[in-house]
Symmetry: D2
Subunit: 458 residues, 4 copies
């Protein structure tokens, strides 16, 4: 789609490589994960137990240059990309969080969101804690630091910390001697492990492994802690199998890069399947199926394949993303979507068009695109969303807007159809979700669609 | 494709708008034309006969901000994006070229290349000319200035200037009172005209008109001069119909944005047709057709449609382009293509793949992509190029490399196939070119493929 | 002098102004205090209990612009300039430190150095504290946060915090409702208070009050806490008169701007007096007295006045300080001092010159300047230092180098004279120090000269 | 003084050095000449007849860095600093001007102003010239290029060019093989030559020679052309002795760095003498003499010496100059001078003060400083200007404001005194000017004071 609608909080990458250029590998890994966060990014490296780092606001390509990377020497590294939330961007929130505590330095990079962060913050505050960021990563760091006081090792402290955390967290902790990857017991967010020669790599998605030529080894189990020390890998599984595995289903539908494979399931294939079931649930007589780029394309192909209606390239999206994009003035506002997304007229002119998008959030963008198609000569526009309607907030690391902004909370299906100006409208059913991840060896969370969350919300 | 292979020199945009924010419209117009040049960009505006301007190295989004745009007030504007050639980037070469001469100020923005620039430079030098840039735009400016001495108006001077110029030039001249669009008598490069309310717009491609919501009116005729003064439009046609119209065929195949329509012919449709004829000329028994993004996608769809082999999304291209991209070190070089382009494994695994690309220049990138497909499990890889083999230099504004770098000049077809590791290989025939622009009311130049140029090369 | 020799850690500024533009006043105040720190700077403002801030590496003029200042609205503000220590500059260390704790937000800006920071850090660590900076400001913040848990107000917490701190600290704490200025019980670093209309201002030096047109009211007493809330000023004096007042004597001789008045004593007058006593202690038969800019000028005038030898302008210092200064290559190294400091030949040629500098630390710069004077035709060069020889480290916020680098620790007086190539050499005696601050109503610390410190060093 | 009052257009530096790092030497040379221009700067180098260059807006320290300097290799270099005129800054005007013409590349750096530039431009325009800058340097370049067509060498072309130029020009021309220094036949602006080993250097002022450790050799004669080719130095003197030598007297009084020696006369000594004669012409009974920094200091010392009144340090000037300085808002305007210039109260309090400044232009700044002194307790303030009153424009490269802005054109002496609030006022007499450069072997131009210009103004 043309403008960011639902954002995820982060992507993480980490590498242990006794021979290689860890910072550079992390740079490429983060570049592959850039879709998971564009606000800020950072890399921390560990050279002989000494941790140095660099982080700033901006894209990976803009923040880092040769000179900066050259200074980041080490045999372990952890990196992070962070999502640009609305409101004021805070440089303080950039990760990895690098800090000193009773046992030396650690760096932490975290993807996810804690459900109990207010309680955690309160508990920490009453012991005199101070907070310099607005991230829950800082609270996790505090908890680790506190637990470390009464445990014999950093991994034990991390293990005990898990007891305090409720919610989504895929994270990396780099201590003077160890690289530690952790995944929450529900497995909300992906986190995988790979190898390349002697190097051991962790990443939010497999596409980051591919980008540096590493082989995928396996996903971390929900609740698992993997400790890398001097090339040795050890797993701590005390928190494994404590909860059903509830992977975020929207990772498959939208967040993940289509070439990533999560829990054995290709994201692209999921989207194709979503399109396929959408065609079954909402068939229509039409001449062409087009997908709204980028994430509607796979579902559109699935819809086309299943329905037998030809697939067409319906849009061209302007791919040039600079540091600043000047918003159109009021007089040009109606036209604003066209600056970033144009219609391929010859594909749609005089045709009955099925327009497949990954989701419909507020409805305003869909309305503009439908209008664009009509202006370009589409005789009919049938809108299909490969995700069910958003009805509930997400508490696990994505920024689904509040209910008063969600079109599906405020309009009937017919009302939405009318609002966006479509000839017909269909959303994938919640029931179909289980069918779009046939290869995944896990359950899923569909709380934003169903309102049923795998943990109790405080 | 994954790395820029053949570059074009420029894109131009101009607007006369008595009511509107000309600089802002030009900003969006240039943003839509960004694919025609990423090295530098600039905007000159005319307010009450006074010309001011801003230009710098970089993308439109990076060079301009609100503050700069706000200062560029006026009722006429001309803008330019410039291609990043190899070698040292020169800020002096950024356009529009703004200068004073005997009759006041003018600004010139130019897309194209003169065949007789060495001769022109020599002729100007022996009268004492000095050159501050390395562009032929400066020579055009000189010629206009000289012709203006003996003519009664700027448009007459421009008209006489055409007599001195051989080659490709689509350009805009903004004088204190007039906006003048000019196209060379061969019509090598596109240049169209549009309207939006009282505003009159010129642009290299129709996609720029779309981006600001303007209506396409017509293309300039080859050799035509269109003069806008105070809302009045006048055409000078002394140089029209002097030569056959020879539009660059590679505009259709590669340069233009697929949503642009040139001389009545959609670029996307041309590419679809190229794919279709390619399927006829080089059929193959296979399981899936994939296009190399971005410009191979349309041709791949055409190939799939014609051949009946299913179309698949074969690749994911990393869309994040920052100011600087750090090249992989030697040890990672083999993997470099994967940083920007990854394979969708589930699309190609275990399959016989037809891989359609827009062209093959040096062969190195094709080799890497073929290799990537095989690593991802493709059983066979059949490469198809929707452009014929590059065999000759281009003298009209694109940077086809020298013959010693062109793979087709140095290898037989079988040699190229072997070099890139394909199971079979096919290039669109030169003969098919005439069939891919059925809606175009013009002839074309295919000099880079055929060695036959519409003008004599000095 | 020509290169920074002894650096101080910081300057602070704060303002309560119900009517005015607090951020802008702080900007000018920090600009006046820029000599106290050039590494980084920052401003935090409080608008209706909400604290926002901006800080970065660089000079005040480079970090802030109109747009940033305009966003920093509020009726209270606190600002900070930080000294550029050697080694890697850390953006994390920039101040004010803005944080959340059990009672909301606070911002802290601190000038000084704690003697017991290692112990403090240890004590905090064993309760599970994490540290994101390498400043003792963070430890102070922790201590305040902890004390606040068992006290009824922020000022009480600050009051209790003082019990934990040993060393130099002049600091500002801004809470949601209050602006609190604090000075350590020894009064090592200056901190004064002023008024302008309804506004109440705190600053490290009076020159910052002057710069915004405020009237000096008084210095804070050593150990005093001044609380500003809604225009009301209240003083807490529990820690006043606990220790003798030991103002850093080097503030008078070097750190403070000459136009600042500290504890009733003008810094310029102190330097004049130092020159005067230096003339008494080390008289010499000479033709001209020149001062090494900038801080040697006042002392040189004192020497001239007392000795009757004419004062002359001996040097021109290049005043252009950019973001980066490229150091001369090896072949130019001998000449390096001359790039920043040139001799006024006509002042010294053929003359016996008394060259007065503010201090001699390593001797290398003095050697270069003496050499420069001789090359310019000085017949004799008599070096006088208006500070006694540095013999000991400073633990209270300045970076006197280690003893192995201090020329006075490694050479006899005669040895130093020979090393720097002077005809004679004289340092102000330690005994004279008490005579150079006749108007000051305080004692002083001369630990770096005498090795006698007012607190025990752990 | 505290704000730039009269600006000069430029400073030039050039070096031929077969062994050395020419760009780096030029960098230091320009840094020493930074006071002659702060708007933009640039360096062009010549490596084996190939000229490359870098220039931008900003201070030398901000524009250049190691990376840029490292790329500027060569055995000849020419550099330029440009004065920041009001109005929009134009990057196009930055120098050296590097261009191609009939005989290859040349680079030109120019200090001065042509009286006949409008005529020159007209003459060039009617031959069809185009102008990309608003500098007269471009016209000089054109003239050289034209003359080169009918002459056998670049130096002959330069020699003939002089015939066309009326006004001030000290300039450097670098051709593929030669470095050519030229001075106008009146010798308005300084230009000297030095050596360091095999290197030959040209610079606007001797302080630039000092900064790189070069030995001063001689000034260029008015009208002289010095040609350096492969280490050989040749002088062309056809235009020498054509006019009386009329060096700009304000170079001595204000523009030149005090440590520079022009035509045998130290600038500092000139200012001392100006102060001395000022004391004779306008004696007063007072307690202390203070100079307004920076350029009033030397004259103040002269006044003090001659009058017997003690010299004092009266002001502290904030030396931190960043890229941007935010101007005070209206409510703070009255206080604005104090942000950059503060009074040393203890020097002036309760005293009758003689305040010596280098000149009085509009009177507004003097008024503010007088006011500042009174607020700081001065009992009387007697203002003395070491330059006569500005009454006429300068046509030779400085920006004396128009007559309606010059206080001396609009008020009587008594009126000015009253306006600035002084107890008495004195300007150096025009007659005394001849006595302040006793060591100079040249005449001078005092047109801005006397209205008598050495050339006819068109």
């Amino acid at each position: 789609m043309t403008d960011k609608r639902i954002g995820e909080e982060c992507g993480v990458f980490a590498i242990y490589d006794p021979d290689g250029d860890c910072a550079r590998s992390t740079y490429y890994g983060l570049y592959a994960l850039q879709h998971r966060g564009q606000e800020s990014c950072g890399i921390a490296v560990n050279k002989n137990r000494d941790i140095s780092h660099y982080k700033d606001m901006g894209l990976v390509n803009d923040v880092f240059n040769e000179e900066i990377l050259d200074k980041l020497e080490g045999t372990m590294a952890v990196g992070h990309v962070r999502y640009s939330t609305t409101g004021e961007s805070m440089r303080e929130n950039a990760q990895p969080l690098v800090l000193r505590y009773s046992k030396g330095n650690i760096a932490i990079a975290h993807n996810g969101n804690l459900v109990n962060k207010d309680r955690l913050m309160k508990e920490l505050s009453v012991t005199g804690a101070i907070f310099q960021t607005t991230t829950d990563t800082e609270m996790i760091a505090y908890t680790i630091a506190k637990e470390r006081l009464s445990t014999g090792s950093i991994e034990e402290a991390v293990n005990k910390t898990i007891d305090h955390l409720v919610g989504a967290f895929s994270m990396i902790v780099m201590s003077p001697q160890k690289l530690i990857a952790v995944r929450d017991p529900w497995g909300f967010r992906p986190l995988c492990m790979g190898r390349k020669g002697k190097a051991i790599i962790f990443a939010s998605e497999t596409c980051a492994l591919d980008s540096i030529g590493a082989e995928f080894e396996r996903e971390l189990l929900p609740g698992e802690i993997v400790v890398v020390k001097g090339g040795e890998v050890r797993s701590i599984t005390d928190h494994v199998n404590k909860h059903p595995h509830t992977m975020c289903i929207f990772e498959y539908l939208y967040f993940a890069r289509p070439d990533s494979v999560i829990e054995g399931q290709s994201a692209h294939d999921s989207r194709m399947l979503a399109g396929k079931y959408l065609a079954q649930e909402y068939p229509v007589d039409a001449d062409v199926v087009v997908g709204v780029p980028d994430s509607g394309l796979s579902a559109a192909m699935g819809y086309a394949e299943e329905s037998g209606i030809p697939y067409g390239i319906g849009f061209v999206k302007n791919k040039y993303i600079g540091r600043t994009f000047i918003q159109p003035s009021q007089s040009m506002r109606e036209n604003s979507v066209r600056i970033k997304l144009n219609v391929l007229k010859s594909t749609v002119e005089g045709k009955r068009v099925v327009m497949v998008d990954d989701s419909i959030v507020r409805g305003t963008t869909s309305k503009r695109i439908v209008n664009l198609l009509r202006k370009s000569g589409a005789k009919e526009v049938h809108v299909r969303s490969s995700a069910p309607p958003f009805m509930w907030p997400c508490y696990f690391g994505t920024d689904v807007p509040s209910r008063d902004q969600l079109v599906a909370c405020n309009y009937s299906m017919e009302g939405i159809r009318e609002l966006i100006g479509a000839d017909s409208l269909g959303f994938l059913s919640i029931g179909a979700l289980k069918k779009i991840i046939p290869d995944a060896n896990c359950g899923y969370c569909d709380g934003c669609f169903s309102g049923k969350y795998p943990v109790e919300i405080e």
